[in-house]
């Protein structure tokens, strides 16, 4: 009689269908052709390794769509975990400055000529963890209001991170970071098959751990003390979940730069649709968040007549107004 499991399966199935749909759309649409092809045409071209279309789809679009899906999943989960653990509906890795910190780490890694994997990834992770620690320390203790102080600390850390990033860029006349501005707004065009595989390898285990801990997040919503009294090892669970989440976010930053507000839009939308149980929300975020970013990326590369815009532009255009709506709503 595990009705929760049934609901989780139902929501996941729906989201998987959605994800598969937008992924197909993402693969079939692009700047190099003139619209949606018929299925038979796609099939005949896709099975012919000699055709240009084969190369475009399998070497460029498919990895890109996979990376977008992974990134969307990781960022949505990031928002979900932060909102549950910090008991703050507005918490999100980008808003709290975790992404910015990871970006600093990544830029330093690039300037030190590290390899993308594992060097730059680890540098980004270190940066993300450092800012997480910073935000938590600043907002902890006897501050006036917990919720506000957490967000304010995040905003300040974020502003500081942006300044450091611009400082680093301005100080180094380095060809390696010439397209860093594009990357900063979320650029999903850099990845290939290898990158997609590495990202999947690093993120899928994180997804599984978070899913396994979904009910613990439910209990944590009732507050630290209630969770403790129901047998949750609060400190250990919080630390592992925050570290895992920061790791995922850092990986996305390292490969695709800063994409804002995904972790705000998707969890809130899913909560509105399916309720607050994290055993449903976690798989929902993985597949639904993936679908969302694939769609955003698709818009980002098809909307402009010439070239493309960073996917982060689309997500911020959607997410920032939603943040304001939520802010108005959570005020007493």
């Amino acid at each position: 009689m595990a009705s929760v499991l049934k609901k989780a399966v139902a929501v996941s199935s729906g989201m998987i269908v959605l994800l598969a749909g937008v992924m197909l759309l993402g693969i079939s649409l692009g700047s190099s052709d003139d619209g949606i092809l018929s299925l038979t045409e796609i099939f005949s071209r896709l099975t012919d390794p000699q055709s240009l279309y084969y190369t475009i789809v399998w070497e460029i679009r498919f990895p890109r769509v996979v990376i977008a899906a992974l990134m969307g999943a990781a960022l949505s989960l990031g928002g979900l975990v932060f909102q549950a653990l910090l008991r703050n509906p507005l918490a999100e890795p980008y808003i709290l400055g975790i992404s910015g910190g990871a970006a600093i780490g990544a830029i330093i890694g690039i300037l030190l000529s590290f390899a993308r994997f594992p060097g730059v990834s680890l540098a980004a992770f270190a940066g993300g963890m450092a800012t997480l620690f910073l935000v938590l320390v600043i907002s902890s203790g006897r501050t006036m209001m917990k919720k506000e102080s957490l967000l304010l600390s995040g905003v300040m850390v974020n502003a500081f991170c942006s300044a450091v990033i611009m400082f680093l860029i301005s100080m180094t006349q380095d060809a390696r970071i010439h397209n860093i501005m594009f990357w900063l707004m979320g650029d999903l065009s850099a990845g290939g098959k290898k990158e997609a595989l590495i990202m999947a390898g690093m993120m899928v285990p994180c997804f599984m751990v978070i899913f396994w801990r979904a009910n613990t997040m439910n209990l944590l919503l009732m507050g630290r003390e209630m969770a403790l009294s129901m047998g949750v090892n609060v400190r250990w669970v919080s630390v592992t979940l925050l570290v895992i989440t920061s790791f995922m976010v850092s990986v996305t930053v390292c490969y695709c730069g800063l994409v804002a507000f995904v972790g705000l839009v998707i969890p809130h939308l899913l909560r509105l649709l399916f309720g607050a149980d994290h055993r449903v929300l976690v798989p929902g975020c993985i597949f639904g968040g993936g679908a969302y970013l694939v769609l955003c990326d698709l818009l980002a590369r098809t909307l402009p007549g010439q070239g493309e815009m960073p996917a982060g532009v689309i997500t911020a255009l959607v997410g920032a107004p939603l943040f304001i709506v939520l802010l108005k709503r959570t005020q007493p």
Partner: protein, 273 residues
């Protein structure tokens, strides 16, 4: 089997170097209602948190069912002790039924999949605290008394030997206070649950407690049946205000009446003359 549910000896706790509990020694018998009273800031809440295992003693011994509390794994401890905090969180997006079902968590796996049996226990707990008709509601739609009953149902659903409550009757009107206290008595009688709680209401505590413990500034003043604790000398010295202690007409248990200042003034004026 030992008859002792909770045993404390020289139990000590401090926040930031300030001692809030100083060498408390007492024991709670199985299946009794044990109520802690005392002035504000005497460490009552801290004591509840210690017994519920939310914080660890700085010094001294605290045993639950004969085992040192630190040696019991958190999940096993949660099967023995349930906790009802003073301020229950209500900004919480779950329904009453969800909240009560979460009480099963210590008995389930990490993923918390519930069985028919778990749902039955939750239904029983909700019926026990008379909140079953609220099952589908959200907490923020409920009154203070209803919320308190939901969280007591959650604690019962945890199926513990001991329930620890931190001022469950605070900010409730008299009718709801009685309802909660009657519930405690029923819990003791029907489920043989040991109740350990804090109360700010001395008279209510006197009428329901098997054992009363009076603490002041983290030190134990007196522990025993209400009649031995609630005496004029002890209360006057602890609370530092004029009180009248007599017996209530119902069951001859001690009844405490605080004396308003205007009577003192009159008393002083007659003395001055």
């Amino acid at each position: 089997m030992s008859r002792i549910a909770v045993n404390a000896s020289r139990l000590t706790y401090a926040y930031d170097g300030t001692r809030v509990l100083d060498q408390l020694s007492f024991s709670v018998q199985k299946g009794e209602i044990f109520i802690v009273i005392g002035p504000n800031g005497s460490g009552k809440t801290t004591l509840m948190k210690l017994i519920a295992g939310l914080i660890r003693p700085l010094d001294g011994v605290l045993e639950i069912g004969g085992h040192p509390i630190g040696a019991i794994r958190r999940k096993y401890l949660a099967r023995q002790i349930a906790f009802v905090p003073q301020q229950v969180p209500t900004d919480f997006p779950f329904s009453v039924q969800d909240v009560v079902l979460f009480g099963r968590a210590p008995h389930l796996g990490t993923f918390g999949l519930t069985s028919v049996q778990d749902h039955r226990l939750a239904d029983q707990a909700m019926a026990f605290t008379e909140v079953k008709h609220l099952a589908g509601r959200r907490l923020n739609q409920l009154s203070g008394g209803e919320c308190q009953r939901v969280f007591i149902a959650r604690a019962i659903c945890q199926n513990p030997d001991i329930i620890v409550l931190d001022e469950p009757t605070a900010s409730l009107d008299i009718a709801h206070q009685l309802r909660i206290m009657d519930m405690m008595e029923k819990m003791k009688q029907e489920k043989n649950i040991t109740v350990v709680m804090v109360s700010h209401d001395v008279n209510l505590a006197a009428m329901y407690a098997d054992t009363l413990m009076l603490v002041k500034s983290g030190c134990l003043v007196r522990v025993g049946p209400p009649k031995t604790v609630l005496t004029y000398d002890i209360l006057e010295s602890v609370y530092g205000c004029p009180l009248l202690v007599d017996e209530n007409p119902l069951d001859n248990l001690p009844r405490v009446t605080p004396v308003p200042g205007r009577y003192i003034k009159e008393l002083r004026m007659t003395n001055d003359e």
